[in-house]
Symmetry: C2
Subunit: 305 residues, 2 copies
């Protein structure tokens, strides 16, 4: 099945445009001062990491259109972290939750093909429904990813305009050739890359990452990226609001998915006391449910009266 | 010890500017049609991979200033590949060979810090002497890498002008603000990023990747990147020659290191027959020795007559 159709279907089925980011910060999960670790006494860091992923996947079953594990945090925990990442990808996929592997890979030619094999080949330990990729090396370097993704029924999300404070330094540069900004040129390359593989829903398998923290750029890029799903990070802990992301959606409420990581993953840290296993699950679930509703409120067409 | 000083010292000590890339292509190493696999009957893919790394590290001891494992190929072999990568990094470092981890990572804020922890923290399973990083997300996203590298005595190589045919699509764009190309702006950010941490040798711990396949850009960037070591890929199988990379070096023969991967790693494939273990080692060693000499010929100042 085509990636965009799979995503589109999932969004309708559970009525959610929320992506739950799986961002295991070691300093928040492990150690004596961690409320998470205190709720699971005698758990090793590995078992804590497995439990953290399991809670988020369980939450996503009812509240999210996808989960997005962030490779960096798993890699920072070495071989153990990467083994848990592999298990986490499989666990989510087994439950039918689309997995967006946030690894921001990018390299040239045959090396790009090797990364594609790692994340977009169904036989790989790291197979995912979609992968984030970095465009700096040029559109030719994205082609091996796009081919592998199309073959596997997976998707890509290409970095276009990122959510960090300094994303403008290179991405916002105005180009002499066209008077357009670099991110617009990258966006056009994204459209081209997916043009030959449009799903029934009208979107290609090549999406784009556009940050919630830049609402006017998000609105402009929604137009340029006419056949791409947008993956919108920066909502929640980074400061983007549901109001900020409203222009990411098409009038029919489709076309974008919005990621929240820390505001959901660590929702229990806001509790004053009594942070036990149940309280952790409940706080995470409630935060996800609230994000789901907030996003639906801005995304879905107002019913006519 | 400062990364640039460590590299500088190694270059002098073994008189080599060659970096041996460790690029294990599964289709060339495994399977019945692989001459490598046929030379090691009864070896599992894992053992073949370990042996391949060991031969290249042994070769590098005498011929190369550094080795550069390419993360993509190891990741494409799943958990097994990554475990071998970790062992390979340790084996090279134990022999005193600087390891440049070619992972081209890049992400924002605390996620960048997590990648830095994975590759630039001495306690990590993936600790390396240097890491390649991607600048698209902005200079602010490179700072966590630069800080972690400085602390560990490691280095960075930031992608500036890559060696692939399509690298110009974004990197060569002329910017309205300055009339300069994007890669020049990125190069200036690289200089700034390392400015506060210059080693005794006069170079900072933040280097730049500039492809051998673009000799005139390489010459221009050598000037802009006044305090950076250049890591030059694209020599050998990608078509760059020793003549093409001559401008990467300073008049004193320092300032650049040149990577060759496939032309060394698979040198034995050019043999007509008799590809046994010894022939493989010899072909790889001879190819590395030849590359070392060719690079020295263009890099080192001609002795005055």
């Amino acid at each position: 099945m085509h990636f965009a159709d799979k995503l589109h279907e999932r969004i309708s089925k559970i009525d959610s445009r929320l992506v739950i980011g799986i961002d295991p910060y070691p300093e928040r999960l492990f150690g004596e001062s961690s409320p998470f670790a205190r709720a699971y006494p005698h758990f090793t860091p590995e078992k804590l990491l497995i439990e953290f992923c399991a809670i988020l996947i369980e939450t996503a079953e009812e509240t999210a259109c996808a989960v997005k594990p962030q490779a960096a945090f798993f890699e920072s925990m070495g071989l153990t972290g990467i083994a848990v990442l592999s298990a986490c990808l499989k666990a989510a996929r087994t439950k039918g939750i689309p997995v967006i592997m946030d690894a921001k890979r990018g390299d040239i030619g045959s090396t790009a093909a090797a990364y594609a094999k790692a994340f977009l080949d169904p036989d790989s330990d790291f197979f995912a429904d979609a992968l984030t990729v970095n465009p700096y090396l040029g559109p030719d370097t994205l082609e091996p990813f796009a081919r592998a993704a199309a073959k596997a029924g997976s998707g890509l999300f290409v970095l276009v305009k990122t959510s960090n404070p300094g994303s403008g330094a290179f991405q916002d540069q105005i180009l002499e050739e066209s008077g357009e900004r670099l991110y617009t040129k990258v966006a056009r390359a994204v459209t081209d890359l997916g043009a030959a593989n449009i799903g029934r829903c009208g979107y290609s398998h090549v999406g784009a990452v556009v940050g919630a923290t830049y609402p006017s750029e998000l609105k402009a890029l929604r137009e340029v990226l006419s056949s791409s799903y947008l993956l919108v990070p920066g909502y929640g802990a980074q400061g983007g609001t549901a109001h900020d992301v409203r222009h990411a959606f098409r009038p029919d409420g489709a076309g974008a998915i919005v990621n929240a990581s820390r505001s959901i993953d660590y929702a229990y840290e806001a509790l004053d006391e009594g942070i036990d296993k149940d309280a952790i699950r409940r706080a995470i679930y409630d935060a996800a449910r609230k994000a789901q509703k907030d996003l639906n409120n801005v995304a879905k067409p107002t019913p006519s009266t």
